[in-house]
Point group: none
DNA sequence: CCGCCTAACCTGTATATACAGGCTAGCCGC
DNA sequence: GCGGCTAGCCTGTATATACAGGTTAGGCGG
């Protein structure tokens, strides 16, 4: 009667392991959009779990838009899970170099710290867990263009602090260690606090664009970061399709 | 034992009825952000369902970002935040109504004008072409929440100005006339000019989120708009996957 | 050959039960 | 009075089971 055995891998939860396997097969291309996914009873047999557990895995993937289910028919891979490049997660250094400018990173802080409530919550770790923290100012032609305050999950990228952030941005390093499978951006306009203002070299009343970004690799949160940009000088763009990327003056601005 | 009786109301599914009741209490204000929600066992007693069913209702509401749960503590109403999805275009009136609030539009201006260089460029028309222009302030519960300055391509929507924008948002009207096939969002943080500040009722130094949006129908630019939101209160969100929309305190903010 | 019915398979919902582990209030002993 | 332990409540996960209703293929009878 199949005791509730602990699964072997690092991830203990059965429904997560089922989700990860299906996501991996989609990522590898073994499962194509429109393809039929194993039915609940097939997953029960394959993973040795109960049907409710298989159901939960499939239902959550449906919620997330990965799968499409219909009673009596089966479960299928959603057609358009490739909405690529909508709002790119891009390496700030690439963006700067693309403009033909020079990029330089100044590492202000890099070290270990204990996660406070907010950080623990964001990284899905327990309160007080040790996390890695870095504070980097990115310069474009010797002018500050972004302050990056980052917290990294040591379970995913244990050697984060040994990277040299002057030659490789945290983003570059982390995508190498753990490919990004999901992201979240929350954008706000804020009045920067004095420290940020100093790093960005801003006047007192200059607004700031603050992007809170989290990235996942599989089911694990890899990192979260607060990115501060000097307000009006920076544009964050999101497009539905690749083109038209033709730059246009924003109304109300002198070109 | 408790037989699996059919619930009385139109909605038969138990977990849906539990979700609806909780959502109703939040909409009515009986449950405020941060308030504790009935525990699973309390719902079991109140609705006569099994714990798994109560669990499902609460878990789905957590997925949807309505509730926040933590083991050992309980289930709580998520802090309300105003947010807009950057990766899709929605009707602001719908968003407000979904939050259980009332929407009202104040038409400040509506008329014809000749396109200046920026507008002509954005709408892909020639300089000096006649375009339609509207300036609308959207109110949520009688508080200004968005200033919408819009320019419309008369070749696509010639009757734009005859619409009644108090009963139908420009977005609603335009999507009816010309379905959106592509869009572009450019986000900046700006210091609002005095007029915008007045419309939004902001203090002098309060930053603003400005979204420049263009939408296409086929190959033609339908409209472009400058949307101003009160800065730190408003969040633009972009995520690669639908769930989990579990709200997380942005680092550095008190929740 | 065609139409109907059924068996097999699928998801959707619901139940009762179990064990784990986080958290807290209160009691007990020192 | 104070520290530590425990009982009780909470969520998280997992199990086995049940019945419903949608869909399809195949078999049986006219």
């Amino acid at each position: 009667m199949t005791k509730a055995v602990k699964p072997a891998a690092g991830e203990a939860r059965h429904y997560i392991r089922i989700k990860e396997q299906i996501l991996a097969e989609i990522a590898e291309g073994k499962l194509q959009p429109g393809d039929r996914v194993s039915s609940e009873s097939e997953l029960v047999a394959a993973f040795g779990v109960s049907r409710m557990t298989a159901n939960r895995a499939l239902r959550e993937l449906m919620f997330e838009g990965v799968l499409k289910r219909s009673a009596g028919i089966g479960t299928f891979v959603s057609p358009k899970h490739l909405d690529v490049d909508l709002l790119q997660i891009r390496n700030i250094a690439d963006e700067i170099l693309e403009r033909g400018h020079t990029h330089q990173a100044i590492v202000v802080k890099a070290g270990l710290m204990k996660a406070d409530a907010n950080v623990a919550d964001a990284l899905e770790l327990i309160l007080g867990a040790e996390v890695m923290h870095s504070l980097i100012v990115h310069m474009e032609n010797d002018r500050p263009i972004q302050v990056e305050e980052r917290y990294v999950n040591p379970l995913v990228a244990p050697d984060y602090l040994s990277a040299d952030f002057r030659s490789m941005t945290p983003h570059e390093y982390l995508t190498e260690v753990a490919p990004i499978t999901a992201f979240e951006h929350i954008v706000q306009a804020v009045k920067p606090d004095p420290a940020i203002r100093k790093y960005l070299g801003l006047r007192n009343d200059h607004p700031c664009l603050r992007v809170f970004r989290r990235t996942w690799s599989g089911e694990a949160v890899v990192t979260c970061a607060l990115l501060y940009y000097p307000g009006a000088q920076y544009r964050l763009e999101a497009r539905s399709t690749k083109g038209p990327a033709r730059p246009v003056a924003i109304l109300g601005e002198k070109q």
